[in-house]
C-alpha cells in the first residue's frame, strides 16, 4: 500500500461500474441466487477494467433479502470471481441504501489511505428469497435437536400443529408499524398532496429517459448481460400517460378516491446486482484507468416515522440540507439530481418538502423553504421506476450512472459538473452523496 504523499485526506474516485440488467421478480433471474448475480456483476467489472487476477484493496457489498447460508456473501462472490483470491471482502446492509453505504464507507477508507482500490456493490433477489419455518416450528425443531431419548423426541414432535407448518416469507413490512413500504408512502404522498397525474408523469419520464439512454448506447460500458437479458426487463419504452392512467391504485386504498399510487408509479420487486470500482487517483493513474468522478461527501439520515410526523421515506429531505450546508452548497450548485424512485410519490414528496416554507422553517431550521430544483436535471437517464429496484443494488446503479454522466458533462461555468444522490431506505433511513466530475 502506498502512503499518501501529503498527510491528511486524499481523494477517492469512481473509475466505473458494472451491473447486470435488472429483472422483474420471477423472470429471467428466477433461479439465480444472490451469489450468482453478484459474481456476474463483479466479473463484468473485472473484464471491463482488465483486473483479472488482481488483488483489490477491499470489496464491500450486501443484500437486503439474505439467506442465513450467505453470511459471507461478498467474500464468496469474490472467491468465485476472476479477482485474486487474496482480495478481502465484507458484507454490509442498510436496507435500500446498502449500495450507497458501501460506496461511502470504502471511499472513506481510500481517503484515509487504508486501501488504494475498492469495489462497492449490492445485490438482491426477491425471486430467490429466503423462506423460514414458522417461529413455532423453529422452537420445536431446536428442542428436538437437544432431545436425547426417542421418547423425548416423540413427545416434542407431537407438539407440531398444522399452523406451525405454514412458512414465513419475508415481507417489506415495517416491523414497528406493520405497514408495507407502499402503505407508508401512500400516507406521505397524501400528506404532501401529490397528484396522481404528477406521479404518472414522473413514471413516464423515467421510462422514456431510460429507453433513450439505452438507445444511444449509454449503458454499453455500465452493464453486462446476464441469463439472456441485456436490458432491464421492467423498462416500458412504449408507456404513455393513457396507459398509466388506466391502472388501479395499489397502495393507500383506504384513502378511497384520494388513492394515487399504482403499480405504474411504484417500483416492482426486482432481481439484480451492481458494482462500482473505486480507487485513489494514484492507483487509477498507475493502471491508466479512466476516472469518471470524485466521491466528495456522503451522509446517512433517519426520521422518527414511528412516533413523529415524517413519512417513512423522508430521511433524505433532512440529510441533504445538512450535507449541503456542510459543503457550502445549495441546490442551485448541482447539474444532476439522482433521487431514487422507490415510488414516484417519494421523489415528489421530497421535492414538495424542500419547496415548503413551513417545512423549511420548522423542520429544517432555515429562514424559509430549502429550495427547488430544475426538473430537467432530475433522473435524466431514468431511475428505479423504469429500471426496477433490487434493493441493495440500486445505490451502485445510481453511483456508476451518475459518475459517467458527470464525466461526459465535464465542466460547468468553470467548475466540475456536480451531482447529488438521494436514496431512501426502510426503517425511516436514507443515504445521500455528492459526486463531482473528473
Amino acid at each position: 500500500m502506498t502512503t499518501p504523499t501529503t498527510p491528511g485526506i486524499r481523494k477517492a474516485v469512481i473509475i466505473g461500474g458494472n451491473r447486470i440488467p435488472f429483472a422483474r421478480t420471477g423472470g429471467a433471474y428466477a433461479h439465480s441466487s444472490n451469489q450468482d448475480m453478484l459474481t456476474a456483476a463483479l466479473d463484468g467489472l473485472v473484464a471491463r477494467f482488465g483486473l483479472a487476477g488482481e488483488r483489490i484493496g477491499e470489496v464491500a457489498a450486501g443484500a437486503v433479502l439474505k439467506h442465513s447460508r450467505d453470511f459471507n456473501l461478498t467474500r464468496e462472490a469474490v472467491l468465485g470471481s476472476a479477482l485474486a483470491a487474496t482480495t478481502p471482502a465484507y458484507d454490509l446492509q442498510q436496507a435500500c441504501a446498502t449500495g450507497m453505504e458501501a460506496v461511502i464507507g470504502l471511499s472513506n477508507k481510500i481517503k484515509l489511505g487504508q486501501i488504494d482500490s475498492a469495489i462497492a456493490g449490492g445485490v438482491d433477489s426477491a425471486s430467490d428469497a429466503p423462506i423460514a419455518v414458522s417461529e413455532g416450528l423453529r422452537a420445536i425443531l431446536l428442542d428436538l435437536n437437544r432431545a436425547k431419548t426417542t421418547g423425548q423426541k416423540v413427545k416434542i414432535l407431537a407438539r407440531i400443529r398444522p399452523k406451525d407448518l405454514s412458512p414465513d416469507a419475508p415481507s417489506t413490512g415495517e416491523p414497528r408499524t406493520g405497514l408495507s413500504m407502499g402503505e407508508h408512502q401512500a400516507l406521505t404522498t397524501a400528506q404532501w398532496k401529490i397528484s396522481r397525474e404528477a406521479q404518472d408523469e414522473l413514471a413516464l419520464a423515467s421510462h422514456k429517459n431510460l429507453a433513450a439512454a439505452y438507445d444511444r448506447n449509454f449503458f454499453d460500458d455500465l452493464l453486462t448481460p446476464f441469463r439472456g437479458l441485456s436490458r432491464d426487463s421492467n423498462l416500458r419504452a412504449d408507456s404513455s400517460m393513457e396507459k398509466l392512467a388506466k391502472l388501479k391504485p395499489a397502495f393507500g386504498k383506504s384513502l378511497g378516491d384520494d388513492a394515487t399510487m399504482t403499480a405504474g408509479n411504484s417500483t416492482p420487486l426486482t432481481d439484480g446486482a451492481s458494482t462500482v470500482l473505486l480507487a485513489s487517483e494514484e492507483w487509477a493513474a498507475a493502471r491508466e484507468l479512466p476516472v469518471l468522478a470524485e466521491v466528495v461527501d456522503g451522509e446517512a439520515g433517519a426520521v422518527d416515522f414511528v412516533h413523529g410526523k415524517d413519512g417513512l421515506l423522508m430521511a433524505p429531505a433532512f440529510a441533504i440540507p445538512r450535507m449541503l450546508a456542510r459543503n457550502g452548497l445549495t441546490l442551485a450548485d448541482f447539474d444532476y439530481f439522482e433521487i431514487h424512485e422507490a415510488f414516484a410519490g417519494t421523489v415528489l414528496s421530497t421535492l414538495a418538502a424542500w419547496e415548503d416554507e413551513e417545512f423549511g422553517r420548522t423542520r429544517l431550521g432555515l429562514d424559509g423553504a430549502f429550495g427547488s430544483i430544475d426538473r430537467a436535471k432530475l433522473n435524466v437517464n431514468g431511475s428505479s421506476l423504469a429500471a426496477g429496484h433490487p434493493f441493495a443494488a440500486t445505490g451502485g446503479r445510481i453511483m456508476a450512472t451518475l459518475a459517467k454522466m458527470l464525466h461526459e458533462r465535464g465542466r460547468v461555468d468553470g467548475r466540475p459538473a456536480r451531482g447529488l444522490i438521494s436514496v431512501c431506505a426502510a426503517g425511516g433511513q436514507g443515504v445521500v452523496a455528492i459526486l463531482e466530475a473528473r
Binding site: 456476474a40 473484464a47 471491463r48 491508466e288
Partner: protein, 468 residues
Amino acid sequence: MTPNNKSPHGKTSHSTTAGAREKADKYTEFVSAGLGRDLAKRLGLPQPAILRRYNPQAPLVEGPILVLGQGSGADAVAQVLLDWHQDVRRHATPKTKLGAIVAVLDDVQNPGELSEPMLAVAGSLRDLNKNARVVSISRLAAPDDAPETAAARNAVDGIVRSLAKELRAGATANGVVLENGIAADSPSAMAALRFFLSGRSAFVDGQFLSAASEGSRQAPNWEKPLEGNIAVVTGAARGIGAAIARTLARDGATVVAVDIPAAGDHLAEVANEIHGTALQLDITNPEAGNRILEHAMSRYGRLDIVVHNAGITRDKLLANMDAARWDSVVAVNLEAQLRMNKALLANTCFADNGRIISVSSTSGIAGNRGQSNYAASKAGIIGMVKSTAPLLAPSGGTVNAVAPGFIETAMTAKIPFATREVARRLNSLQQGGKPRDVAEAIAFFAQPQAAGVTANILRVCGQNLVGQ
C-alpha cells in the same frame, strides 16, 4: 502498460489452447484405433487422422527434416533449420522416418528442372511420419518472367495441391512463394516455413503463403512471438473469435476482446480468462474504429494487431433474399471493417507496423448456395485486403485474411447430421477444423517475423474440394 499480466493470482489459465490433445469428432476417434480402424480399412471408409496441433512445449516437427534442392537457397534454408535445433538431412536415408520434407525450388528456371527434386520427394514420401509436413519453397510466377520460368514456377502450384490430396495420416503439403528479389531464407519466408512445419498449420493443406519482402531481422521469440503487443479481436465472445483471443494471449499479446453488448457476459468470461479487457461495442457503430483506438491507447498506450472476426450469416437463396438480410450481412461483415480500417490507417499510432487480419471464408472463394450475401461480404474482404496492403506497406504494416472452411463450432453443430457429416469429410484431411486452427493462422500473420507477409488469403480448410 499491462497490469493484468503481472499478477500470479489468476485462477483461470489458458492451458486448454496450449496443452493436451483435443478430442476429434466421434467418427475420427472411432476409426483411429482398434476395431474401428480395422473396419474402416476393410470397408474403404474415410480414415481421418487425429491432427497434430501446436503445443509450445512440443518439438516443431516429429522427426528429421529432409531438405531437398541443389542451389544456395537450399543450403541457406537448411542452415536456418539447424539454427532452430532441428535434425536436418540433405539426403534421403532409406527406412528413416521423416518429420518433414522441405523442397527448395527457388532456382528452378524451366520445367525440366523439376523432375529431379520431385522424384527425390517421391522417394521419401513413404518414410513420412504421421502428421508430417511437405513444404515447397519456390518463386512467384510473375508476368515479366520468361515463359519457361513462369511455367516452371507455376507448376509448383499444381504439384503441391496434388500432393496434398495424396498424403494421408494427417500429413499436409503447403508452399512458400517468394516474390522477386526475396531470398529463400529471408525472415518472412522462414516464418512461413516454420508455420507450415508446426502444429499451428494442422488444418491448412494445399495452400501457399507469399513473402513480399524480407521481413524483420529482429531476434525472434518463438515461445511468445506476440509478447508486448496489444491486440483487438472483434466477435470475441465465443466460437472462433474466443479461440483467436485465447491464442493471441497464449502467444503473449494483451487482448482487448470486443463484441456486441448483448454478448457481454460471454465476452467478460473470455476477457477474464486471458487477463485482457472486454469492450462491449457494436462494430457497425460509425465510431467503432475510434472507440477501439481510444480504448487501446488510453489503457495500453498502443495498438499493434486488429483481428476483424465479427460476422453474421442470414442465409437465403438469392431469389428469396430481402433487404434486411442482405444489408445486415454486408454492413457487419464488410462495411464495418472498411470503416474501421480507415480509422486505423488515419491513426499514426496504429499504422507503425500495424497488423490487420480479417476472417474471410471459403464461401467467399468458391461461393455457396444460399449465401450470396455472405459470400459477397467474404469475397469483398479479399478485395479489401489486396487494396489495403499497399496503403499499410509504407509504415511496415501488413493486412491478410484467413478463409476458414468447415470449422466445428456451435454454429456448424446446428447443421443437420447428414449434411454436417458430408460437409466435414469433403476435404483432404476428411474432418472439420477447430476454431483454434483458424486462430493459429491469424496468430502467425500477427507475428513480427511475418512482417513481409502481406495481402495473403490463407485458407484454413483442410484443402476443401471446392475452390482453389
